[in-house]
């Protein structure tokens, strides 16, 4: 074997290890933490909506946002923004921690591909959310679209990112897409519940699966 072939072999080994690692650095506990944060957010949303004196919408409908005072609306948006950012930060932090523990670069080619696959759909979901929540354009139906749009786009991102890893993330992605389709088709007025089921319980179930699969020691 000559120098060039040895180098090609080394690169191949590195690529395969990164691919397999993408799965092992998935932090189960951060998925569970994210899921619990979403469940908490859904509970707080429900309590905020329920406290409205003359509601036009049910407290499980995100369109109830229209019933809140301006301060309430701002608090609601800030809370969900923080939950989203908190979830992403926790995921990145724990994944890096896990990768370092395994002596692997968290910025490997596969990890970067997965990251860049997820980013466009999340950015689109953010743009649509801003559009739907624009003060001049605040309408119940568009607010109701936010949760299913996030489910479908997040699901698409997770599915695409999973193409560079094993089946489990792809299954999670498909579950989100299915939940989003069902939600936008039939359960628009139940946004708080569908968000809790998908972003909350799907993440918790996925986190438990990762922990069960790789052992608590591997799932930070």
């Amino acid at each position: 074997m000559d120098h060039d072939e040895a180098q090609v072999r080394m690169q191949e080994i590195q690529r395969i290890m990164e691919r397999a690692t993408l799965w092992t650095i998935l932090p189960g506990t951060s998925a569970i933490t994210g899921g619990l944060m979403v469940l908490g957010g859904c509970l707080v949303s429900y309590l905020m909506f329920r406290s409205v004196k003359d509601p036009s919408f049910a407290p499980i409908d995100f369109a109830s946002l229209l019933d809140l005072s301006l301060n309430g609306q701002i608090a609601f948006c800030v809370m969900w923004f923080l939950i989203g950012v908190g979830g992403i930060v926790a995921e990145i932090h724990f994944a890096q921690l896990q990768a370092r523990r395994q002596g692997i670069s968290p910025k490997g080619r596969s990890a970067r591909l997965a990251f860049f696959s997820l980013t466009p759909s999340v950015v689109i979901a953010m743009v649509l959310t801003v559009k739907f929540l624009a003060p001049t354009n605040l309408r119940s139906q568009e607010i109701q679209y936010i949760a299913p749009v996030w489910m479908m786009l997040y699901g698409t991102g997770v599915y695409t990112a999973g193409l560079f890893s094993v089946r489990a993330p792809r299954t999670l992605g498909k579950a989100f897409i299915a939940a989003g389709v069902a939600s936008i088709g039939f359960f628009q007025q139940y946004g708080v519940i569908t968000a809790a089921l998908s972003f909350g319980l799907f993440h918790i179930a996925f986190g438990l699966y990762v922990i069960g699969k790789r052992g608590a020691g591997l799932a930070t």
């Binding site: 074997m1 000559d2 120098h3 060039d4 040895a6 180098q7 072999r9 080394m10 191949e12 080994i13 395969i16 290890m17 691919r19 397999a20 690692t21 799965w23 092992t24 395994q102 692997i104 890893s165 094993v166 089946r167 489990a168 790789r214 052992g215 591997l218």
Partner: protein, 108 residues
Amino acid sequence: MNDSIKPDDIDPVIHERVRLAIVSALAVAPEMSFNELKSTLGLSDGNLSAHATSLQKAGYIEIAKSFKGRRPYTALRLTAVGQEAFRRYVETLRKIIEKGTQTMDEPK
């Protein structure tokens, strides 16, 4: 220390591309199911099965067959012998690369 590389230093079991891919994946994942490994490496059932059997015969991997519910489940793990063989193979590659780089750096 003699750093020269002999043909015998290259393990023929691991040297085959598919088998190297299987061992590389299992070197970082403590255990992978047959389906996980198949999708991670983009292999067909037959191809993975044949090479996994060769690695098992060499004592490099363990294949555990069981049932999850009513569905058959096959788990693959790298053995201590496999880990050592992989470590040696990577070390050999490193030596070849280093030697080649030194040769290229030497003034003619």
